[in-house]
Every structure is written in C-alpha cells, then in structure tokens.
C-alpha cells in the first residue's frame, strides 16, 4: 500500500511560527544561493570572451535590474550567513530554549537586512 504520510518537515501540518519560517527559508535560500553562484560562475566564464563582448553584461549589471539582483544576492547571502551561525550555535548546544530560539530567529530575519546594508556600504567603500 502506498504510504501517503507527509515526509519531513511536515510544513503542511504544523502551524507557522518563526522557527518553521526560518527553517524552510534557510533551505529555499540555500538553493537560490547555489543557483546564483552558478550564474556568478557563468559571469566569470564570460570574461574569457573579451572586453567588447563584456559591454553587454556591464550594461545589464549597471541597469536597475542588475543592481536589484546584486542587492538581492547580498541579502540572500546575509540571510544564509546568519542562519548558518544560528545552526552552529545549536550544534554546540546553545540556543535551544523556546524564547532564545524565537529571538535568534528574529535576529536572523532583521539582521539579514542590516547586514545587507552594511555589506553594500562596505563594498561601495562608503564606510
């Protein structure tokens, strides 16, 4: 008989909370980041085509969409970095209490936006 029980992490059964939101976002953003890194690899590979051909890519990267994609990538990297640090604390046995888990979850969400701004300002040498 076919087993129709849901597999982990049962997102269609449990009610949504911060931990669940961060958990599923960590997975989705991890996949988005590796797709983005594959595109970064393609971007680096396209440099081999020479300066003239690169003008099209430069035009795209300087457009609103290009800047938006880089900003989005900065946020998704920031989110994954903070979420990964949260996981590492768990691995060392810290932060399992319900209230701590909620607070660190909120730090990951709001901290990712702060870190994005910080990385962008450092990258642009504004600070």
């Amino acid at each position: 008989m076919e087993n129709k029980n849901p597999l982990s992490p049962h997102i269609q059964i449990y009610s949504w909370n911060i931990s669940l939101l961060i958990s599923i976002s960590h997975r989705i953003i991890g996949v988005i980041n590796i797709v983005a890194l594959t595109l970064v690899c393609l971007w680096i590979a396209l440099l081999l085509l020479g300066e003239e051909n690169y003008e099209y890519i430069k035009f795209f990267l300087q457009s609103f969409l290009g800047k938006f994609l880089i900003l989005g990538l900065t946020w998704s990297f920031s989110f994954q970095i903070l979420s990964e640090v949260r996981h590492l604390f768990w691995d060392f046995g810290y932060g399992f209490e319900l209230i701590t888990s909620k607070i660190t979850g909120l730090i990951v969400i709001f901290g990712s936006f702060v870190l994005t701004i910080l990385i962008y300002l450092i990258g642009k040498q504004i600070i």
Binding site: L37, C41, I44, L48, L61, F77, I119, G123
Partner: protein
C-alpha cells in the same frame, strides 16, 4: 562512524569554512560588479582572488550538494528518482567548480 555522521561532520566543517568566504566574496562582488572589464579581470587575476574564489566555489558546491541531497531525502518518495536526482546533482556540482577553476587560472590581464 556511520555515513550520516560523516555527512553531518562534512556539512558543519564546510559551513564553518563557507561563512568567511561568503562575506569576503559578497563584499568584493558589490565593489566590482559595475566596474570596467579591465578592473574585474584585474581583480580575478590576483593570486589571493583566484585562490579564495576557487575555494569558495569548491566548498559552496560541496556544501550545497550535501544540503540538496537532504532535501531530496525529505521530499522525493521514489528511490529510483532520488538516486538519479542525487547522481545528476553530484555530477553537476563537480563539473561547475572544475570549469570555474580552469577559467580563473586562464584569466590574465
């Protein structure tokens, strides 16, 4: 040591290596993405950039292959499909970093 334990240790070690590399790369990406061809090639032509970018790609694709295989484990019921998906994933995630390392070591200004 069972395979699941080895996999977990590999995941954790790679994530510890990945965090500083991601910070380094994203700061540099923000600083160079709008620049001219010559500036970008100059950046990737330096030895530290070649080394750190290569290391980032190897560790990121290694970490992702382990993470995504966990997602397959959780969501794909059919064993045959899961096996094919894992093999495709591992092949793709070995080829991409190899190509980018070859590209990086052929980039010169």
């Amino acid at each position: 040591m069972i395979n699941a334990t080895k996999k977990w240790i590999f995941l954790k070690v790679s994530s510890i290596i990945l965090i500083p590399l991601m910070v380094w790369f994203i700061i540099n990406l923000v600083s160079i993405y709008e620049k001219d061809y010559v500036d970008i090639v100059s950046f990737f032509s330096t030895q530290p950039s070649k080394f750190l970018t290569s290391l980032l790609m190897i560790v990121a694709f290694f970490y992702s292959s382990l993470s995504i295989s966990e997602i397959f484990e959780d969501y794909i019921h059919d064993k045959k499909i899961k096996n094919i998906a894992n093999k495709t994933l591992y092949t793709f995630f070995i080829i991409v970093p190899l190509i980018i390392i070859m590209v990086l070591f052929n980039l010169n200004i």
